[in-house]
């Protein structure tokens, strides 16, 4: 079979089993688009309205399915627009392949029209990138890109393809390589058995253990093993923002999220634990708070597929490099073999202490308010959707409220930009999720500031009839910025008030969608039911919420877990 470079590009994607390509055409990728148009029975293209959205949509698809998300964008501005989405995927270790057009090889370096050094610009925010200079290298490079993106610690890979490499008149024999071997790339396949045994022994000897999990458990498809381990040990478990849902959040052993906006019980347990078991988490500064105060009494066990994550910010006592799923399986079989049980008396005392912390009810808020509280909005969303949503999020207060008040019981249901904190992520990510699961309920929780960053994608949603529900917690402010300004800048609200907002209902209508607005707490549930009852329609629900509400608890930057700020409704007596 002889194919042109453009045809090879498309055939390689088909051979990879790619279902959707998210993209936007332009000069340097016209040959590829021409080849694509002849194969749309086998691979579907989703035309976004901005390349950033292409990357977020592919990212959302990847987070929801575990498969590699794929984008196709043109050179120059096409590539630079994609950078935010590439960096977003990089920070959260999301498998993604981004094909970028490039100017023809003879003019590379001449400042040609729509030329940028894409490989140079994306280098710090990709797992790896390639510039394909010869059509003979194209198929194997695409195979390598998928292999790198999806193995080990996943991440985005950029393949930059100059236009002459896709020339329809140059045809070469095509065979897609099934396997690639790369002498300098061999991710860990299994953890060190001696280290795993040591870890299990320490866990059995612990008196105040805590399991702390992150996005690695979701990425590593290790939820079921995690549940087995946690249940068999009877240990408390907490999770980072990225790991929510890997362990059922409504389960009694789950302490809630930890870190800056984590629960009192989770953060206090971190502070008092004598044995911390970190699984697929990377000790991010939003989790640890001040490093000097982090888990001061604990021996730390850390399981991660990436050796560079181990002892990067916090020094660990038992490092285990390996895929989370295989390490958890090994832990379970060693536990079985040893036949040992944790010290039940110590564990009972530890749970009593935790239940006392739980009694603080650190997430409570004013339920009697005449205004819609954002917390109440999320709780109502949970009730109306029976906790079954795929929920994407933008970045800010609404994201934290969702993480605190929507208990996810399954992995891959909570889809948000944790590491980079990219406003504008939520709506395009929801497109990727809805395409992956056409019959599932998909919603995007957002704020009026975030949503405007990728609002143009309402047109894409119309074109492909994506029945996403946008739940907008509209407080008129960049809420998280406003909160920091209230706490740390004496309430000087420098440019955090979002003046001149559009009428979101009219805006949604103009895109051909249903728009609704709700302002009273007692009308909220009905409005949400109405929105979700419109199964085939994109619905934009503009929820006007209390503009002064803050996210609590809060561990301020540079503080320790035990120095949390709790909601003001609690009296000082209760705090002591």
């Amino acid at each position: 079979m002889e194919l042109s470079g453009a045809e090879i590009t498309i055939q390689a994607l088909i051979d990879e089993g790619v279902e959707y390509v998210f993209g936007y055409p332009g000069g340097a990728v016209l040959h590829i688009y021409d080849a694509l148009s002849k194969r749309e029975d086998q691979i579907k293209h989703i035309l976004v309205r901005h390349e950033q959205a292409a990357t977020h949509a592919a990212d959302g698809y990847a987070r929801a399915t575990g498969r590699v998300g794929v984008c196709l964008v043109t050179s120059g501005p096409g590539a630079t627009n994609a950078v935010t989405g590439i960096a977003t995927a990089y920070m959260d270790s999301i498998p993604m392949v981004v094909l970028t057009g490039q100017v023809p090889t003879p003019v590379i370096g001449s400042d040609a029209f729509q030329e940028v050094d894409t490989v140079g610009i994306t280098r710090p925010c990709v797992k790896h990138n390639f510039l394909v200079k010869d059509v003979k290298d194209l198929a194997v490079t695409i195979r390598k890109a998928f292999h790198i993106a999806s193995s080990g610690r996943p991440g985005p890979v950029v393949v930059d393809i100059p236009k002459d490499v896709t020339d329809p008149n140059i045809r070469i024999p095509y065979a897609y390589p099934r396997e690639v071997s790369m002498r300098s790339y061999s991710p860990a396949q299994r953890g060190h058995q001696g280290q795993i045994r040591k870890a299990v022994e320490k866990m059995l000897a612990a008196r105040r253990p805590v399991i702390y999990t992150g996005g690695g458990v979701v990425l590593g498809e290790a939820s079921a093993s995690l549940v087995d381990l946690v249940r068999s040990l009877g240990f408390p478990i907490t999770s980072t923002l990225m790991g929510l849902g890997a362990y059922p959040m409504s389960d009694r052993q789950f302490l809630g999220m930890l870190g800056m906006h984590g629960t009192y019980e989770a953060n206090m347990a971190m502070h008092e634990t004598d044995c911390l078991v970190a699984i697929g988490a990377r000790f991010d500064d939003r989790v640890t708070g001040k490093i000097e105060h982090f888990c001061p009494h604990a021996e730390i066990i850390h399981v991660d597929v990436d050796p560079a994550s181990i002892s990067k910010t916090v020094r660990v006592d038992v490092p285990i490099v390996g895929p989370v799923q295989s390490v958890l399986q090994d832990m379970l079989s060693i536990l079985k073999e040893l036949g040992g049980k944790p010290d039940q008396t110590a564990l009972d005392a530890w749970w009593r202490q935790i239940d006392e912390w739980r009694g603080m009810d650190c997430l409570r808020y004013d339920r009697g308010s005449g205004l819609i509280k954002p917390q109440f909005a999320v709780e109502t969303l949970h009730k109306v959707t029976n906790g079954e949503l795929y929920l994407t999020s933008d970045v800010g207060q609404h994201q934290m409220f969702a993480a605190q008040f929507y208990p996810f019981d399954k992995p891959r249901r909570w889809i948000n930009s944790g590491g980079l904190g990219t406003m504008g992520f939520g709506l395009p990510a929801a497109m990727g999720v809805q395409l992956a699961f056409p019959d599932a309920q998909v919603a995007c929780i957002s704020g009026e500031a975030s949503i405007l960053m990728c609002i143009q994608e309402m047109a894409t949603c119309k074109q492909y009839d994506l029945p996403i529900k946008v739940i907008l917690l509209n407080n008129g402010y960049m809420g998280m910025v406003r909160q920091w300004q209230e706490f740390f800048y004496d309430s000087r609200y420098a440019h955090s008030y979002v003046d001149a907002l559009p009428d979101f209902v009219a805006l949604s209508n103009s895109f051909g969608h249903v728009g609704m607005r709700v302002e009273k707490p007692d009308e909220l549930e009905g409005a949400m039911q109405e929105a979700f009852a419109l199964k085939d329609r994109f619905v934009f629900l503009d929820v006007i919420v209390d503009p002064t509400e803050n996210v609590y608890p809060m561990v301020a930057a540079g503080k320790g877990h035990h120095e949390m700020q709790l909601p003001p409704t609690m009296s000082d007596r209760e705090l002591a």
């Binding site: 280098r123 790896h128 510039l131 002498r183 560079a308 181990i310 002892s311």
Partner: protein, 163 residues
């Protein structure tokens, strides 16, 4: 502490900038960096001198190993090794200084490789500290120009940094 990191890297365009970019992006120090082809045309040998406490150097090595272009890495500080650096140094050699500079060159077992009526170019090879010492020893005001290759190193014994 100073570490000499020896690496075999894919002989591909972009490998150098990936490594240099890693250091600038993560705020690590590079004291010197040299790169040249090896006997295997698909590989370059890169020698990078850096400094930092043990935690930082450990993290540098892990991050370098993660780069797909880095095929193999060895920290020469982990074992006995030999280190060499070359320096060419241009000195003002007027009549009154010529004899002293010549003596200095002999003491350091350096070579004068270019002479004019008013200048010498001296070639000197050795560990980086020896080169530093020579610069220190030159009387003040006589140095016109210094060019150093950056350190290279190799481990002692029969084991080599090979694939």
């Amino acid at each position: 502490m100073r570490h000499i990191l020896s690496m075999l890297v894919e002989n591909e365009s972009g490998a150098l900038s990936r490594i240099a970019g890693l250091f600038s992006a993560r705020g690590y120090n590079i004291e010197s960096l040299t790169v040249a082809p090896t006997d295997d045309p698909s590989l370059s040998r890169m020698t990078l001198v850096t400094c930092g406490n043990d935690d930082i150097v450990e993290q540098i090595k892990k991050q370098l190993n993660k780069l797909i272009d880095v095929v193999k890495l060895q920290d020469l500080a982990d074992s006995e090794h030999t280190e060499r650096e070359m320096m060419l140094i241009k000195l003002k050699a007027g009549r009154q200084d010529r004899e002293e500079l010549k003596r200095l060159t002999e003491i350091f077992r350096a070579k004068i490789i270019d002479v004019t009526e008013i200048s010498y170019v001296v070639e000197l090879t050795g560990a980086s500290r020896k080169l530093d010492a020579f610069i220190q020893a030159v009387p003040e005001g006589l140095i016109t120009e210094v060019v150093r290759s950056g350190a290279i190193g190799i481990s002692r014994g029969d084991k080599g940094l090979t694939l």
